[in-house]
Symmetry: D2
Subunit: 146 residues, 4 copies
C-alpha cells in the first residue's frame, strides 16, 4: 500500500485561447505550466515557496517528469489540477491529476521529481535538507528522526 | 537487443533569452518545444508532416511523454536534439537525446508516444494506418506484411 | 473628450514562475497573454466569445498591438487587468491597464486593434458585422443605425 | 530624412507547430519571441549581448513595444526577421520587419524601445551608458562626443 500523501492541494484554472493548437485542444507542452501552478500552490501550502527555498539556501530543479494524456482539454474549459506530495525524504516527488472541474473526468496524470541543490556550492543532496523536513513537520507530517 | 531506429534525425537550436528562468537555466517545460522541433524534422524526413497527416485523414496526439533532466541548458547555448523513431507498428514512439552541440555532453533524455486517430470519426487506432507504414517503406524501412 | 467605453471588465491573475525571466520580472512578451485573458473576458461579457464569433461567420485577427511597460511585475504578484472596448463601429479597439491588484499601482498600458474577417471568403470588413453590433445593443450600448 | 540605422542584422526562423493557433496562423503574442531572437543577434553583432550588458553593470528593460500585423504567418513557414538599431543616444530603439523568407512579402512591422538601468542602484539613465556607445564606436558608428 502506498504511503498517503504528506500534502495535497488543488488549483482551478481555465484553458486560455493561446494554449490551444490547430486541433483545438491544449497543446501537450502547456500542461507543464498547469502542473507548475499546482506545485507552486503545494509548496506555498507548507510555507516553502520559491523565495523561502532560496532564502534558506536550496534550489529544487526538476530531474524527471512524466505525463500521460488521457483526454484532451479544450479552450475555455475549467480544469482542476490536484497535486500530492508522495515522496519527501530524499527528493520531492509530486503526483498530479488534471480533471474537468465540473464532471471530474480525468484528462491527465503526471509526476514530477525534484532534488535539492545546495546553492552555495551547486551540489546535489541525496537527502532532503532539514529546512524542508521541518516545514513538513510544522504542517503536521510525521517524519522519522534521522 | 532493441530494434534499431527506423528513422533518425537531429536538429540544432539555440536557447533563447525567453526560455531561461530566474535560475538562469532553461525552464523545464520549454524542452517540450525542443522535442517537438526535432519530431517535426523526423516526420518531415519521411514526408509525413502535419499537413500530410491531415490530408490523409489522421491525427497523432501525444499520449505519453517522459523527460529526464540530466544537466541544465543555459541561455545562448547551442543544443543538438536527436530524435529516433523506435516504434511504429501500433503507435509512434520517439526517443530523444538533447546534448550540448559542441561537446556532446548529455543534457536531457526523453520519449514521446503518439497514437493515430481517424479524424473522420475521432476514433483511436490500435495499429498504425497503412499510409504511415507506406511512408516508412518508401523511406527504406522493412515492415512485415500484415 | 473620448467616447466612454462600451464594455469594461477586469480579471485578476497571478504571475507564475514560468513567466519570470533572469531579471526576476515578467518577461515582456508574456503580457500579451495577460491582455488576451482580459480580452476573452470582455467578449464573453457580451456573449461574443470565440465560439460565437466563429459560429456566426467571423474571425477577428489582431492587426495592431501597443504596450507600454511602466513598472515590472514580479513572480507571485497578483495583477488586475482592466480591458475597455473603446472602438467598435469599424474595428474592435481595446484599451488595457495592468495594475498591482492590492495597491492599484500602474504596471502596463496597452491597446489592441482587431478587424473582422468574413471566414467564408477570408475578406476583411471595413465596418463591424451586424452580429457584433447587435451583441453590443443587447448589452445596452447605443449604436447609431447605419 | 531619418538617420540611417547604426546596426542592421537579420535572422531566419521557421514557425513551429506550437506557435500556431486554431486559425492555423501564428498566435500574435509569439511574434514577440521572433523579435527577441533578432534583437539578440543585433546586440551580439556589436559584442553587447546579455552577459556583456550585465558584466558591465547595465540592464536594458523593454519600455515600449509596437507591432503591426500585416499578413499572417503559417506553420512551417520560413521567416526572415530584420532588426535595425535606429536610436542609441538616449535609449535603444529597434525597428523590425518580418517577411516571408522566400518571397520577401511583408508580414509584420514592429518597434521596441529599451532604456538603460544602472543595476547597482536600479536607476534609469536618461542617456546611454558609455560602454554601449563605445561598442557602437568600435563597430564603426560615428557618435558625437558628449
Amino acid at each position: 500500500m502506498p504511503k498517503p500523501a504528506a500534502v495535497s492541494v488543488y488549483v482551478d484554472l481555465q484553458v486560455p485561447f493561446h494554449d490551444v493548437d490547430v486541433m483545438r485542444i491544449t497543446w501537450h507542452g502547456h500542461y507543464v505550466k498547469y502542473l507548475e501552478i499546482a506545485r507552486t500552490a503545494l509548496i506555498d501550502e507548507i510555507d516553502y515557496g520559491y523565495e523561502e527555498m532560496e532564502n534558506t539556501g536550496y534550489g529544487w530543479p526538476i530531474v524527471d517528469m512524466h505525463l500521460r494524456y488521457v483526454r484532451p482539454a479544450r479552450m475555455g474549459q475549467w480544469l482542476r489540477v490536484y497535486a500530492d506530495l508522495v515522496e519527501w525524504e530524499n527528493c520531492m516527488k509530486i503526483r498530479y491529476r488534471i480533471v474537468d472541474r465540473e464532471s471530474g473526468t480525468l484528462l491527465n496524470k503526471a509526476t514530477s521529481m525534484q532534488v535539492a541543490i545546495d546553492v552555495s556550492n551547486n551540489e546535489m543532496l541525496f537527502a532532503s535538507p532539514t529546512v524542508f523536513l521541518n516545514k513538513l513537520r510544522a504542517y503536521g507530517v510525521t517524519i522519522d528522526a534521522s
